[in-house]
Each structure stands twice: as structure tokens, then as C-alpha cells.
């Protein structure tokens, strides 16, 4: 695949005296995790296609501090937050979009009190707005008739009440949206939140991602759609554990849209 991604940084924009429409907060997973990097690129391809003026912080971006805060390390969280706020405010950032619900929640809810006040939106909401404004068109051809189930990320759904944007996008693909028995506000966690991603689970009789993968498989899906790089990892591992990787794919909403556009 020929990659010709246009990814300006805030520093480059500033040098040209420009302010982008939106700052894309890539996040640690989106920057470093091999699976999540694909989501990042898919999202950038859509931004490029839709001629959205955006920029990233690049090497000036640092962890939001979310995993430290959920682990109980408020010091480390606030240090990270204040450093990031200094950078963001230095660029006079107004609007931030991110493909990670954890970054989204932290930037949106926990930064304002510390001096970082921005309009923060999740990439599914942003894609939905592009669609509503006619800046993005989706042709569902390749997903027509496919069964897609959406796994609600806790920090997008329950934490911030965003349930519809990702589902609206799936419906635009002409796909059949099938709900798991536990969905939306009753959705079951994938097992990664609260810094669990970075440690082994406590003794129990099952891994949480297996329990959740079983919920998803009950819907007999072709695709499990995710909106979070961590959920994506957990569900992908679950599918591997069930030896279903041949039948069921785990994909981010941004990847579904990008694929629909042959991007």
C-alpha cells in the first residue's frame, strides 16, 4: 500500500502561522502499539480524504496520565497533566479529537480543573459530524449484510454517555448492527480499564476479556467493532483464545470507515 499520509505537527503549523481546525491527540497506544497504529493511520486517511485541517503534537505529546491516575498515583497524573496543558495552551489548542476513550475522558473531564479547557471529542463523534456536514460520504458496499456488533468502551459509554455516534456510523455502512446482551449502559468492560492493561488479573476463574468475547460471539458477528485501542487488544486476544480469528475480525470504527472508502 502506498502510504502518503499528511500529518502536520502543531510546531510546523505554528511556524507557518496557522491554527488547525482540530488537534489530533494520538495517545500512547495509537503512537506505539502495532495494532493501534493501524487505527491511527486509518483515521488520518479519513482526515486527509475529507481535507480536515488538523495537526498532532508529535514528539511533544506525552501520556495524559490516565493509567497513573486510575492506579492511584495522583502525583504522576497531575505532573503529566500540567506538562501537557502547558504544551496545549502554548499552541492555543481549542478543539481536540482522539481515538482513545481514556485520553478522551481525561482530557475532557479532568484537565479543565487544572487549567486545560478544550472542546474534546472522540473520533467516532468527529467522524459523525464530518458525515453530518457532508464532508465525508460513506458507501457501504463492502459491508452490506455483514453482522457487526459494537463493544462499548467504558470510558466512552458509561463514563461519558457516548453511545450513538459509533452505532450511527455502523448503520451508515449498510451493515446489520447486532447488539450484545450487555450493551450501552449495561455493557461489560473488556478488562483493560483502571490500569488493568498493565498488570496480570487477580486470581479468579476466568479472564474478563474471555467473558466479554463470549458476549460478542453470541451475536454471531462477522466483525466486532471497537472504539478503543485497549478494548481492541482485549477483544482480539479473546477471539484468538476462542480460535475464531478466521471468522471474526475486531476492527475500530475508523478502520471500518476507511475500508468502506477503499482508503
Amino acid at each position: 500500500m502506498s502510504e502518503n499520509l499528511i500529518v502536520p505537527t502543531m510546531a510546523e503549523m505554528l511556524a507557518q502561522g496557522k491554527q488547525p481546525e482540530v488537534l489530533f491527540w494520538v495517545g500512547c497506544a495509537g503512537s506505539f502499539d502495532d495494532r493501534a497504529k493501524k487505527i491511527t493511520k486509518a483515521f488520518v486517511r479519513i482526515l486527509n480524504r475529507s481535507n480536515v485541517s488538523f495537526a498532532v503534537l508529535g514528539t511533544e505529546e506525552s501520556c495524559t496520565g490516565d493509567p497513573a491516575k486510575r492506579a492511584g498515583n495522583e502525583f504522576l497524573f497531575q505532573m503529566q497533566a500540567m506538562m501537557n496543558i502547558e504544551v496545549l495552551n502554548g499552541y492555543e489548542a481549542k478543539k481536540i479529537v482522539t481515538a482513545c476513550p481514556h485520553c478522551f475522558n481525561t482530557l475532557k473531564n479532568e484537565y479543565p480543573e487544572l487549567g486545560g479547557k478544550y472542546e474534546v471529542i472522540h473520533h467516532t463523534e468527529f467522524l459523525k459530524s464530518l458525515l453530518d456536514d457532508g464532508r465525508l460520504t460513506i458507501e457501504g458496499g463492502q459491508f452490506k449484510g455483514k453482522r457487526i456488533t459494537f463493544h462499548d468502551p467504558c470510558y466512552l459509554g458509561r463514563a461519558n454517555n457516548v453511545y450513538e455516534a459509533p452505532r450511527d456510523l455502523i448503520l451508515k455502512l449498510d451493515a446489520e448492527l447486532v447488539e450484545m446482551k450487555r450493551s450501552k449502559a449495561n455493557g461489560l468492560c473488556c478488562g483493560a480499564g483502571g490500569a488493568q492493561m498493565f498488570k496480570d488479573a487477580e486470581p479468579g476463574n476466568k479472564e474478563i476479556n474471555i467473558e466479554r468475547t463470549e458476549d460478542a460471539l453470541e451475536t454471531k458477528p462477522d466483525i466486532i467493532a471497537a472504539g478503543c485501542p485497549f478494548c481492541n487488544t482485549m477483544m482480539t486476544d479473546g477471539i484468538k483464545n476462542k480460535e475464531k480469528e478466521g471468522d471474526v475480525k475486531v476492527m475500530d470504527i475508523a478502520e471500518l470507515i476507511a475500508n468502506a472508502q477503499d482508503l
Binding site: C28, E74, M79, K199, I208
Partner: protein
């Protein structure tokens, strides 16, 4: 007619019943105030709205339709039948009999609806008992409830059966005397008895005097039972019938994902990051009202008062635990147990205060370790399922987070991989060992 002595006895009964209750409520308020201050006076409109919808309107109860419907029956029954209590108290104090009978048809409708509700409550309570003891729903059979909590739940159900039965027996015997041809004593024709009319034949063949005695016995047992039940609340999980209202009013209004930023930390971080700060400067004069704060919570006094109110409000229904991903997959964590432990510990601290004239004498115990273990705390994914589920907006998650903060910031007692993750964030701005300078490499990778 009741004698003068009866009225005095009744007044005495009321004074003892309400006096003891008042005393215990004061204790609860004192114990809740052991918690740290937190401002929950903002946005009164949203708070009233929450209370109206969630506590009064039971909006979250009905998310589980069977339990929700049964609960509404008992709840409405409880509230409506208590209107009858007003008549009982007036009758008892002034020696009147069915003082509201002058309302005529309205009175008939009232008594009839009390009776129908009493019957429905009986049916619902039997269903509740069956769910706990015969069907043994998972959330009622779990280890959290072993022993006294299980008995507590059943005692409450038995109480309700006894109270509703006494109410119906009282009406049935009264109706029997109302029907005596030519009338009997003060038993005027008043009220409509759609349920107790079927119990009334029970008294056929008894002398009118005996039935009158029984009526009085039922009446006294009923009001005494109500007063005992009211005072049992303090010792049981059943306080939610009162505390659900303040609890929903003072509950967190922010998005569930927003965790509070510790102000004490903000001060220190700002100092650390201020290039003009003099690291050798003397500490600013201490605010005399400021308690030397520790980071996070290891005991109930470190929690805020809303978290302690949460603990008293919890009625141990277990919806939180049944939706907790850690608990579902066999981990030790149970959000319900977090709330029960918190309440048990406040009660212990409260008894300590009682026996030591209001001064807490350290007992070498704490909420952390003696009640809640680190293993439970570290199993939480912070997914907010427990908070979402709670029918009265309790947040077990906020207690878990405050205790993790203590473990990490006061004791440096995080699991090893968590320490590694935090070291990575500190050193290279990501939870993994990647160089911050490589953050944009993805752009050029294929």
C-alpha cells in the same frame, strides 16, 4: 372505650419509640460527619431532580423489571399505608376510634386501598423471600451475605408480613363488631374492607367481648410493631428507606468517568513545576484549620461524608456486584462488600466514640487490610458498572480509588507491573518503554 391509662401508655410508647429512634439518627449523623468535607450544595435543581426521579420515582429500580415491580409494590404500600398511622396515633392519644371516619366515602376508599396494598405487599414480600431463600438468586446467595446480613434481610421480610397481617386482622375483627346487629360498643360502621371481609368469618362464634379484646390487642401489636421496626432500621440494611433521599440528592453529578483531582496534590505539583519556587524557602505558615492530610484513604475518617452516607444507605441488593466484571469472573472484589465493610468500620469507630466519651481511641485497625484487602482493590477495572447499576447512586468505585491512592502514594504498595508502568510514564511519557522522540514514527512506517 380506651381508658385514660391507655392514652398515657400510648403516649409513653410513642415517646420511647421516637426518642430512641431520634437518638440513633443523631448517631448516624455524627458518624457520617466523621468524613472529610466535600461540597455537594451546587446545582440544587439537578439534585432535586435526581432525588425525585431516582429515589421517589424509582427510575433505576425498574431496570430489572421483576425486582423493580415488586419493590414498587412494597414501596408504595409502605408510603400509603403509613397514612393510616396518622389515624392510629390520633386515636391512641385522644381515645378516639377511627377518627377520620367522618370523611365518609373518601374514608371507605382510603381504607379499601390500604387493604388492597397490604395484600399486594404480602404477595411481594413472599416473592422476595422466595427469591432469597428458595430460588437463591446468585446475588443473594453470595458469600458477602453469609450470616447476619442474610438474617437481617429475612427479618425485615418477616416484620413486613407480621405488620401487614396485624393490620388486616385489626380491620377484620373491627368489621366483625361493626356488623353486630344493632351495633356494638363504639364500633361504628366506617370503612370498606375488600380484603379483611374474607378474614372476618374467623371471628364467628366468639363472644363480642372477646373479639373486642382481640381488636385492641391487634391494634396495640400493630403500632408497637411499627415502632420496633422503625428502631430496627438503625441496626439493619433497611435504612435506605430514609437515606435513599439524601443519598440521591448529594450524589456525584459529574460524568462518571471524571475522578476528582486531589487539591493537596495540585498544590505540591504546582510548586514543583514553578521555576521561580525557592526549594529552600520555609514552608508557608500552616492554616490552623488544616488537618495534616494524607493522600488517599486507609480508614473511614479519610473518606468524605458522602461516601459514608453511601455506606449507610446501601441496602445490600447486590446489583453492583452482579454487574462487576471482576466479580463475574471470580475475583474477590465485590462492590457491595466494599460498602458493607465501610459501614461496619464506621459503626466500629462509632462504638469506640460512644465508649470513650466522644474521643476516638486508636484500635490498631483500619478499613484497609482489616476489612478490605489490596487484592480486592487491585481487581477493579474502574468501569463504573457498579455506579451505573446502583438504584440509589452509591459509588463503590470512589472508595476503591481513594484506597488505591493510599496504597500507591502513602505506601508505594502497587503491584510490580504497575510500578513499571508508572516508571515508564515518568521517564518517557508512555506506559511502555518507548522513547518519546519516536512518538511520530508511525507516520512513516508501512
Amino acid at each position: 372505650m380506651m381508658s385514660y391509662l391507655d392514652n398515657v401508655l400510648f403516649a409513653l410508647l410513642l415517646i420511647i419509640g421516637f426518642g430512641y429512634f431520634y437518638n440513633n439518627i443523631r448517631k448516624i449523623i455524627r458518624n457520617i460527619n466523621l468524613g472529610v468535607a466535600v461540597d455537594r450544595k451546587d446545582n440544587a435543581k439537578a439534585r432535586w431532580n435526581n432525588m425525585a426521579m431516582i429515589a421517589l420515582g424509582q427510575s433505576k429500580m425498574v431496570k430489572r423489571p421483576i425486582a423493580g415491580a415488586l419493590h414498587i409494590v412494597v414501596y408504595v404500600g409502605f408510603v400509603i399505608i403509613n397514612i393510616e398511622l396518622l389515624e392510629i396515633i390520633i386515636d391512641g392519644l385522644f381515645g378516639t376510634h377511627r377518627v377520620f371516619a367522618f370523611l365518609g366515602p373518601v374514608y371507605n376508599v382510603l381504607i379499601a386501598s390500604f387493604e388492597i396494598l397490604a395484600l399486594l405487599v404480602l404477595v411481594a414480600v413472599i416473592a422476595f423471600w422466595t427469591r432469597r431463600n428458595i430460588i437463591r438468586l446468585k446475588r443473594f446467595a453470595s458469600s458477602d451475605l453469609k450470616g447476619s446480613p442474610k438474617n437481617d434481610a429475612n427479618y425485615i421480610l418477616y416484620f413486613e408480613v407480621v405488620l401487614m397481617t396485624l393490620f388486616l386482622l385489626m380491620n377484620a375483627s373491627d368489621l366483625h363488631l361493626q356488623n353486630v346487629s344493632g351495633g356494638f360498643s363504639h364500633f361504628i360502621k366506617a370503612g370498606s374492607f375488600p380484603v379483611s371481609q374474607f378474614i372476618e368469618p374467623l371471628f364467628n362464634g366468639m363472644s363480642n367481648e372477646l373479639v373486642m379484646l382481640l381488636t385492641e390487642i391487634f391494634w396495640w401489636l400493630h403500632i408497637t410493631g411499627i415502632l420496633i421496626f422503625m428502631n430496627y432500621l438503625y441496626f439493619s440494611k433497611h435504612l435506605h428507606i430514609l437515606l435513599a433521599f439524601p443519598n440521591t440528592y448529594f450524589a456525584n453529578l459529574n460524568p462518571q468517568g471524571q475522578f476528582d483531582n486531589l487539591e493537596s496534590v495540585t498544590k505540591e505539583v504546582k510548586m514543583m513545576m514553578d521555576p521561580n519556587a525557592d526549594p529552600f524557602a520555609a514552608a508557608p505558615p500552616a492554616d490552623e484549620n488544616e488537618v495534616p492530610s494524607k493522600f488517599g484513604a486507609s480508614d473511614v475518617q479519610d473518606l468524605n461524608w458522602v461516601q459514608l452516607l453511601n455506606a449507610y444507605t446501601c441496602t445490600e441488593c447486590g446489583r453492583c456486584t452482579s454487574s462487576c466484571p471482576a466479580n463475574i469472573t471470580g475475583k474477590k472484589l465485590s462492590p457491595r462488600k466494599i460498602m458493607m465493610d465501610t459501614r461496619d468500620r464506621i459503626e466500629e469507630v462509632g462504638r469506640n466514640l460512644d465508649t470513650n466519651k466522644g474521643v476516638f481511641i486508636p484500635d490498631n485497625k483500619s478499613l484497609l487490610n482489616d476489612y478490605i484487602t489490596p487484592e480486592e482493590l487491585w481487581a477493579c477495572t474502574s468501569c463504573n458498572a457498579c455506579v451505573e447499576e446502583c438504584p440509589v447512586n452509591i459509588s463503590p468505585l470512589s472508595i476503591i480509588m481513594d484506597m488505591r491512592r493510599y496504597l500507591v502514594m502513602e505506601q508505594s504498595a502497587a503491584p510490580m507491573p504497575i510500578n513499571a508502568m508508572m516508571t515508564n510514564i515518568e521517564n518517557n511519557g508512555a506506559p511502555w518503554q518507548y522513547n518519546q522522540q519516536d512518538r511520530l514514527n508511525w507516520k512513516n512506517e508501512n
